[in-house]
Amino acid sequence: MEMHLQRLIPEFILLAMALAFLVVGFFIPKAASNGSRKTFGIVGILTALVSGASLFLPGTGTALFGMFIQDNVSVFFKGLFLIVLMFVLFTTIKYERELSQWKAEFYALLLFATVGFMFIASSSDFVSFYVALEFVAVTQYVLVAFRKETSDGVESGLKYLITGALSSGFLLYGISFIYGATGATGFTEVAAVVEAGSASNAFLLIGIGLVVIGITFKISALPFHVWAPDVYQGAPTPVAAFLAAGSKAAGFVILMRILFTALGSVKTEWMIFVAVISGATLIFGNLAAMPQKDIKRLIAYGGIGSAGYLLMAVASASSLGAGAVMFYLVVYSLSILAAFVSIVIVYNNEKSYLISAYTGLSQRSPLLAATLFISLLSMAGIPPLGGFIAKFYLIAAAVQSGLLVLAVIGVVMAIVAMYYYLLVIKSMYLRYPVNNEPIHIDGATRVVLYILNISIIFLGMYPGPLTDWVMDIATVLF
């Protein structure tokens, strides 16, 4: 086996820049104005672009003695993580005023976390997966607790740390059972042992169950969903966007690798289990979202609901399901990012995350209101936006695999989701604002909002190229 270090070039680029941020941050005078530190964000965005371009250089295959795999799935997810990173960095530039100190470290940690996501997408072994997962977790514990001078910042950091540590325990316990049953840690080796039927069935079942439960922390599904609302509320808003878009995608890529690639031959054993988690998550997330007064909490519960939809496609255990997950994650990430950019701009003006602050937004800033309109409706799944096609594929995958009850729950919950997202839209469009002062949006933000809105609409009107691509990629997993 060779090292094939060239397959890690995209990660190396980001790591090098993150280390450079740490060093440069040291030399920047503390009294420097906020403006000079925006450079970090812009340099970060450019680095992400370079790293994204280098994704296509190294070709596919394993590296570092089979611990690291670069295939079409990992390239797809790495591209998604880098896109998320770019928009999160942009949001951070807009949000910077709220971060009292340690700005260089904040940007560096965002880059580190993205590298961790990329490692997760590329891990082909339980050992490298667990290490990459902890890498991300430690970065995010710090990012979530960044507003340490406020009590809700500390609360969210602590909650995230405790639930994260507990879920890691479940995950490790599960991995140890799978190792005990198969005697292997590599996904392909595990798959070979399981397929030959020589694995201990009882231990394997316990292992699968515990691993799936451990991963629900990353994707904010039941039973490890409790952190999501408090963390979204207390963490810096860019971090909340990063968790919502990046962490969920990272959780799903590894869940699909473990369940489809390593344990695909025993899918009858875990399909029902995942389906039950999916149904419970769908019902809980969407019903709990209804009474929320805070827009970040609303999106958090909505996010728990979408984890349920995504798990539905995972439970279907088909390549249609895997493709649907990837398509949904793209659309969902774009919608989340559009929503969070708007939330940050509104917060800068109103100093509030309450839904009541959005009253009459359409008269104060038509562009912001339209962005929230499009992104929230896309998350609710209304045609012709991207979210509709995405949900359609997820439900189709469930129906194709005979999970009819789950599909019905999904359709009913889509209607519930429409209700709570429309409440926000109603207060933006049909009410008069308390404060009539228009919200100023600078040129760069306008461009970003236009890009996000147009891509969400484009994916809804003309999903063909992307769906063809993801369905093609999805076959790699089986």
Partner: protein, 170 residues
């Protein structure tokens, strides 16, 4: 013979682990944790992994636990607050743990348990440190390096979360 020792170590480890959770004094908890970690090290010896056992004692019992004890003593947490916070959900926690145990035991009792035996070559037993070192720097180089970055981030994170920059209001 080996099995007798295993059961001795295992029972002490489990009892100590339960005592960590139920004891009301945080210093006692820390001391029980040391007992538990020592038993785990002993089990590593039984599993023919002396290097792992030694690292377990050095790192966990030696470094981590001493730091932990220092922190507990320096922070001087009042006993009442600890008891109030740590034991307010005792019944629910015990219920959840017992339920999880029952479910796992049920599944395990339903299926056949066949665990593949580890292959101990003479080399692994005779040159344990060398074999572990070679594995870490060849096959497991990727996780190894990721862990080194993880420690760097933990360091940065600890500084960011604990230290106040000069000239800041707080």
């Amino acid at each position: 013979m080996e099995q007798i020792f295993f059961y001795i170590f295992a029972v002490i480890a489990v009892v100590a682990a339960v005592s960590v959770v139920v004891s009301r004094n945080p210093v006692h908890s820390a001391l029980f944790l040391i007992v538990c970690l020592l038993q785990v090290a002993a089990i590593f010896v039984l599993l023919r992994a002396p290097f792992l056992a030694a690292t377990q004692v050095f790192v966990y019992v030696g470094a981590v636990m001493v730091l932990f004890l220092f922190t507990v003593l320096v922070l001087d947490i009042g006993r009442e607050t600890v008891v109030e916070y740590m034991h307010s959900h005792a019944f629910a926690a015990v219920g959840a743990v017992v339920a999880l145990f029952v479910v796992l035991a049920y599944i395990a009792s339903r299926g056949t348990i066949t665990v593949p035996q580890g292959g101990f070559s003479e080399e692994v037993l005779a040159k344990n440190v060398e074999v572990v070192g070679r594995a870490l720097f060849t096959k497991y180089i990727f996780p190894f390096e990721v862990v080194s970055f993880l420690l760097l981030i933990a360091l940065v994170g600890a500084i960011v979360l604990v230290m106040n920059e000069k000239g800041s209001k707080s």
